[in-house]
Symmetry: C2
Subunit: 216 residues, 2 copies
């Protein structure tokens, strides 16, 4: 699970900011219908609480491309969830083929926030209001691991083996650029490296070492 | 090495196509100064030879983000090269922090094609005219592996161990969406899975299993 992801529509408080208004107009959308994007809305973000970490749909995009195209997913061994800073959860069907192009991905997310599901017929992606803890309860894992800079240092290969021995482990990875989880997350805190890693690097380390441990 | 990558400036023959002209104008550049991008220049691509596979800088972007942020790279165990369909080679310094935003990445590539190096002072990225085989000769690896759908099937974990036993192995991964290498590539053909994998999935499998094998 990618948790506390910095994926959200433009908040109302900055919907009239010129950087947002111009961007939305260029894309033929209303300001409150576009996804907040730190690179494009940089000056507007400065007016927001936590502005220095918000507007990072790119992190979700790269994590999902890596997860969905992984061997673990092709083997049917993976379920992916994206939890957002505003306590929404995106359910991603394993067969989803996400747009590789980032701008198309943003368009897809905008459509998802607007319609609740995309595409309407296949419902590959579905979004619901839900907290991280409600989602954890729903998944009912036999163990929860929280990837955390200050967690117990475990070599990635050994962590893959730990996961492989469980029936239904849940790994929680922060979908934000830096700082700590906003949600109260309970579980065994684990760190895979002595330095902070990008969210997508952790996705890769966890999935590939899990695959190795189960022998695919 | 990412080889035969579909990364190039807009070819002259379609520089006057409306899809390209409008896109370049929106970005404040000349048509022949922008990177060919399949999602944006789709109708123009149909007029090009190999049009159905060209214009995929997104593949290079995702492969590089995964490689540069990998533990292998942080441990100083990796050198990354991008070879393009037009026989250019991009040298990437290990400490490079690539733009996460795709459009900024495209801007960086445009600047690289224009100036030969970016940024001017640090020269983190440098581009030179060079064929794949000239680059292989320059790297002088002790063994060359070509990741190929029809190669010998080796489990990713075992392949990581093979790499770990060598001094200076070279892994060649195709930077195109489908089909075969355009360059004549010599080396041991290897396949990591019974189905085709995306280029960035192969990057992840190779690097993470190599890390595991060397015990980091």
């Amino acid at each position: 699970m990618i948790a506390d992801s910095e994926l959200e529509l433009v908040p109302e408080s900055i919907a009239d900011h010129p950087a947002v208004v111009n961007y939305a107009r260029r894309r033929g959308k209303k300001p409150e219908e576009v996804i907040l994007e730190g690179s494009y809305h940089h000056s507007a973000l400065r007016k927001l609480e936590d502005g220095e970490r918000r507007g990072r749909p790119d992190i979700v995009h790269i994590c999902l491309l890596n997860a969905l195209e992984s061997i673990a997913n092709k083997e049917g061994k993976l379920r992916v969830y994206v939890h957002t800073r505003n306590d929404e959860v995106i359910y991603v069907k394993p067969e989803t083929r996400l747009p590789r192009n980032y701008n198309r991905f943003l368009g897809l997310m905008e459509s998802l926030f607007k319609n609740g599901v995309v595409p309407k017929d296949l419902a590959l992606l579905r979004i619901e209001e839900k907290t991280l803890n409600e989602l954890v309860e729903e998944i009912a894992p036999d163990e929860v691991f929280v990837m955390h800079e200050e967690g117990e240092l475990i070599k990635p290969r050994d962590f893959g083996r730990v996961l492989a021995e469980l029936e239904n482990p849940l790994v929680i990875i922060g979908g934000f650029p830096h700082g700590d989880f906003r949600s109260k997350v309970e579980g065994r805190k684990v760190s895979l490296y002595r330095e902070p890693l990008m969210a997508w690097t952790i996705v890769n380390e966890v999935l590939v070492n899990f695959e190795s441990a189960i022998g695919v």
